[in-house]
Point group: C2
Chain length 186, copies 2
């Protein structure tokens, strides 16, 4: 794909938004991105932050968040919780989906590398890219087996609701990088 790279002067100019509209974007390439999460985001400030970035992402890509909600009693074991979550997760995935786990064991990417990763998925004609975050106890073995890739956002463990906010911000950042927009400073 030919990438149009306007110089800094052009980017600051009034033509900027027009130029972006003319450039092939991942949206034009029909890539759909889904973030699958376990259990509802119930912390109000995290929800507000996610809503903010989901709104911004609409300009770039067909993006949605799917929430799976396992019915679990607090008395069940972590292993049972993981297994149940895994079964529900797998039900939401189609054979043609590209499944990427957000997982501590995954490889770490810089923001520009993550943008490049998304671009390469689009170039490889992936139609539906599914990022999956685990529940409090991580992923079941079946989910690991079904996954095509694992990406780690940090070596640190973040609260499993907060990680959703980090991810949507990072996804938004990636699209501003792909589209040469002013947001990310290298």
């Amino acid at each position: 794909m030919e990438v149009f790279q306007p110089d800094a002067q052009t980017l600051r100019g009034s033509f900027h938004s027009q130029l972006i509209a003319q450039r092939p974007t991942l949206k034009a390439q029909k890539l759909k991105i889904t973030l699958i999460v376990v259990s509802k985001t119930d912390v109000s400030y995290i929800k507000a932050g996610i809503d903010d970035y989901v709104g911004r992402l609409k300009h770039y890509v067909d993006f949605d968040i799917v929430t799976i909600q396992p019915k679990t009693a607090s008395s069940v074991s972590p292993a049972f919780v993981k297994q149940q979550e895994g079964q529900l997760l797998l039900k939401h995935l189609q054979k043609a989906d590209r499944i990427v786990l957000l997982d501590e064991r995954g490889r770490e990417l810089r923001s520009v590398e993550f943008a490049d990763y998304l671009q390469r998925q689009a170039n490889a004609a992936v139609r539906h890219l599914c990022f999956v975050t685990g529940g409090a106890y991580g992923f079941a073995d079946e989910v690991y087996k079904a996954a095509h890739d694992k990406i780690s956002l940090s070596r640190m463990t973040f609260n499993h609701q907060m990680v959703r906010l980090f991810f949507v911000e990072q996804l938004y950042r990636a699209f501003t990088i792909i589209n040469h927009e002013k947001y990310h400073n290298e």
Copy 2:
């Protein structure tokens, strides 16, 4: 320092909070922690998240956030912005402070390693641990020179306001790890 490690059964028992109260904590060791940030946190949901964790941290440690507010016109260069921020930052630091930059070039720690890092600072009789986040363009050379350590929260670049929320969550997580409390799952 002798670390008291109750077994899982004890942790679930009603004695838990009493046991924690008896154990030496970083609070008892008089470690003060400050996070120094450049420019006010003005995104309401990030502010709400930070307030949440700052409130929780009060049970463990003397923690505060110091905001430096450079007066800059939008027309000045990134180099000038960094230099001005650097001068203001250094004014807030005392000779005995242990200065740790939250910086992409820093080393990455897992959450348990970060908890261990804090514990070691307290054991080494550090009285004031200052974590510093940079502005949009990073740190001035003078700030790098003054720093004792650099820690990276992620290889990815996060929004410079959001990184504050990530940090306070991570700090809270570290204290729950140090105090053997139920929050972090390995």
